[in-house]
Homo-oligomer: 68 residues x 2
């Protein structure tokens, strides 16, 4: 089953967004993703538990919340 998880992640430079991308690439079950520094929007698609995605990205130390 494919789930789409959309998050707002506080990123302020290309190092920030690159760090988020590296974490997503290490996650199991990811089929596709996008990370936008401009809009602060991170979308991850795949066989995923939304809460687990939120927690993994929170471990980057950046403020992370589900996109409203």
């Amino acid at each position: 089953m494919t789930t789409e998880v959309t998050l707002r992640v506080a990123m302020t430079c290309g190092g920030c967004s690159g760090a988020v991308e590296r974490i997503i690439k290490k996650m199991e079950g990811v089929e596709d993703y996008s990370v936008s520094l401009e809009t602060q929007k991170v979308v991850v698609k795949g066989n995923l538990d939304p809460q687990a995605v939120l927690e993994a990205i929170s471990k980057t130390g950046k403020k992370t919340e589900f996109w409203q």
Copy 2:
């Protein structure tokens, strides 16, 4: 027992160094720390396992290695 762990962490902006600080503040056993964006040096002091500190900071998605 107090251990001092010194790491080189790839940080490119204040958002990056702030993220590393937030992760260190959540670690147990930390007595003192410093994070320098300019020198890319992170020092953490306390009752700590150096490998665990390296792994926790690696989860920020930033390239992290022991300071040579």
